[in-house]
Symmetry: C2
Subunit: 318 residues, 2 copies
C-alpha cells in the first residue's frame, strides 16, 4: 500500500486534513507529567516525561486526526535517551493507526543520504547481514539544498519500502525567500524549479487515490506561491506548516488543496499542545484538564479548516 493512501483514508475517515506536531518542550509540558519522573539519569528522566506526555496526546487525538508529526529536534536534543523516546513515540502512534510524519529535514549526498534514508524510512544492515527497520517513520521531511542528486536516495527508499517524503519547497518562515524565491530562469523561482523536479518524481509513484507520497512542504504563510506550486505539483501531497502560531489562517491554506479537498495536510504544533492554556494553568492542571484542552484545540482547528474547504470546494469527497 502506498503510504499516501493511508494518509488519505485517515483524512477521509476523520474529515480532518490536519496533523498535530509533537514538539515536546519540557518548559511547556504541564507540571503533572513531571512530578513522578522516574530515572536517576536526568536525560532519561526527561525522555520518560516526553514519552508519557506524547502517549497521552496520541491516545487523545488518535480518532480525531489522520497523522502526527514529531519534530526530531525536540527529541535528539536529549541525545540517545531523547531518540529512544522518539522511537517509542513513532511505534506507539503507528499502533494507534496514525500516520507518522517525521520532521527532521535531513539532507546529504550519496551513501550518507542513503544512510539517512535507510535509518528513517528503510531498513539497516546488521552484523549477521540481515536488514531491519530502524526508526520506521511513514514520511520524512528532506531539505533539497544539495540538489536533485541529494534527493534520489530518499526517493529510492520510498519506492522500495512504500514510504514518503516531503521535500522543502517553500517554507513558512520570513526569510525563506532569500534562497527559495530567487529566480532561476524564465521567471521560475528556485521553489518552482524544485517543485517541477518533485512533480516528475511524484508522477512515477502514485497510489490508488491518484496522489503521490513524494510530496512537498509548502508554508501556509505564502498563499500566492501555493497557487502556482499546487499547479506545478498536482499529484504531490503537501505538508503545510505555518498555520496558527506562525500566522497562517484557514483562508490561507485553501490553495494548498485540490478540488477534492485532498492533496494537503495542515500542521499545528504549539497551537494544539500549548496555546490553549496559560503557563500558570499548565503548572496546576490535571492530566484530564490538559487533555481536554488538546481536544478542544484539535476540534477548533479541524472545524476551521473543514468549514473553509467546504465553502470553497464543492467537489470535496468527504
Amino acid at each position: 500500500m502506498n503510504i499516501v493512501d493511508k494518509l488519505i483514508e485517515n483524512t477521509i475517515r476523520t474529515k480532518n486534513p490536519s496533523v498535530i506536531g509533537l514538539d515536546p518542550d519540557i518548559g511547556k509540558i504541564p507540571a503533572c507529567y513531571k512530578v513522578n519522573a522516574k530515572s536517576n539519569n536526568p536525560f532519561e528522566a526527561v525522555a520518560n516525561v516526553i514519552y508519557e506526555f506524547n502517549r497521552d496526546v496520541i491516545d487523545t487525538v488518535a480518532d480525531l486526526v489522520p497523522a502526527v508529526k514529531p519534530q526530531m529536534a525536540f527529541y535528539e536534543k536529549y541525545g540517545s535517551y531523547g531518540v529512544a523516546a522518539f522511537e517509542k513515540t513513532v511505534a506507539y502512534a503507528k499502533s494507534k493507526g496514525l500516520v507518522v510524519i517525521e520532521d527532521a529535514k535531513r539532507n546529504d549526498i550519496g551513501n550518507t543520504a542513503g544512510a539517512y534514508a535507510d535509518g528513517h524510512l528503510g531498513c539497516v544492515e546488521l552484523l549477521d547481514g540481515s536488514c531491519s527497520p530502524s526508526f520506521d517513520a511513514d514520511f520524512l521531511t528532506v531539505t533539497p539544498f544539495l540538489g536533485s542528486e541529494s534527493l534520489h536516495p530518499f526517493i529510492d527508499v520510498c519506492v522500495k519500502n512504500s514510504k514518503g517524503i516531503f521535500v522543502l519547497v517553500k517554507t513558512s518562515n520570513t526569510s525563506s525567500g532569500e534562497i527559495q524565491d530567487v529566480v532561476v530562469s524564465d521567471g521560475m523561482t528556485i521553489s518552482q524549479s524544485i517543485a517541477k523536479y518533485v512533480s516528475e518524481q511524484a508522477d512515477a509513484f502514485t497510489g490508488e487515490h491518484g496522489y503521490s507520497s513524494i510530496g512537498a512542504v509548502v508554508g501556509a504563510t505564502y498563499p500566492e506561491e501555493a497557487v502556482s506550486l499546487r499547479k506545478l505539483m498536482p499529484k504531490s501531497y503537501f505538508l503545510v506548516p505555518g498555520y496558527g502560531a506562525q500566522g497562517g489562517s484557514a483562508k490561507d491554506i485553501i490553495p494548498c488543496f485540490n478540488e477534492d479537498g485532498l492533496g494537503a495536510i495542515v500542521n499545528s504544533s504549539r497551537g494544539i499542545l500549548y496555546a490553549h492554556m496559560s503557563e500558570t494553568e499548565r503548572q496546576q492542571c490535571s492530566r484530564d484538564e490538559y487533555l481536554q484542552c488538546v481536544v478542544a484545540a484539535t476540534i477548533t482547528m479541524k472545524t476551521e479548516i473543514y468549514t473553509v474547504l467546504k465553502k470553497n470546494y464543492t467537489n470535496m469527497i468527504y
Copy 2:
C-alpha cells in the same frame, strides 16, 4: 577560548590541516571488529562495534590530525543505540585532544533550530530547571536553505558556548549548482550571497589567531568558486569535503587556504578508513594491520596537502 583557536593550534602542532571523517559503515569495517560483538540486541551490537572501531581509529590518529568529523547519518541510522555510540565517540575524541566536527547538516527555524543548536552545541534544560550539555560537539555543519533567520539560533549558541558552525556554502557534489550557483543579483550566486552573510557573522566572533568559528563548507571539487569564496570570507574557517574519493586533488584545495596556510581543514573519510585495503583484505586482517593502513593513508594525505601548500604559500606559519 574560541574553539577555532584550538583547531588552529592542533593544526600547527600536527602540521596537518586535515580532518578524518568517522563514517562507520558496517559493511566495510574489518571483520576482526565484528567477531566479538557483545549484545543480544542487534542494534546495540552494531553500535558496540562502531564505538570500538572508532576508538581504535581515534587512538591511532590522535597525534597525526587536529580533528575528526563523525558523520551523524551513519550513527543515527541505528537509532538510539547508534546515537549513544556517537555520544561516546565525541567524548572519547575530545578526551584525546581532538577537535570534533559533527557533520549533521541540521536546519530549521525559530525554537526548533534552537533545539538543534542547544542539543548539539549548547546545553539543554532538565526537569529541575538546570542546564546540561548534551552532544557537546565543537563544531556542527548547518544547511542554510531556510534563510539567514534559520542560522541565527546556531550562531547565538556558538557565541554563548564558544562553539562553531560550518554553514554549507558550496558543496562538493555534482548537482550542488542547481541551487547554489543560481545568480541572485549583480552576478552574485546564492553561494556567494550566503558567504557574504557568513562573513558578516564571522567578523563579530573571531579568536586570537584572527579567524572565526562561524565557518563555511566549501567543496574541494570547485576550486574556481573557492577563490571568490575565500575572498568573501577571509576570516571564516572552511571545512573542505570532496578530497580523494570524490575527485578533489591536493592542487584543488589551494584556494581554500590563506597565505598563512590556515583558514581551511580538508576532510577525507572513505579515503582514510576504507580505501587502502581491498574488501577481501578487510575480511582477513588483524587490528594492527588495519590500523597501519589508517596511519599510512593519514600520512599520505598530510604529506600531499602540506607539500602543495608549502609550494604555493611562502608565508605559512607552520
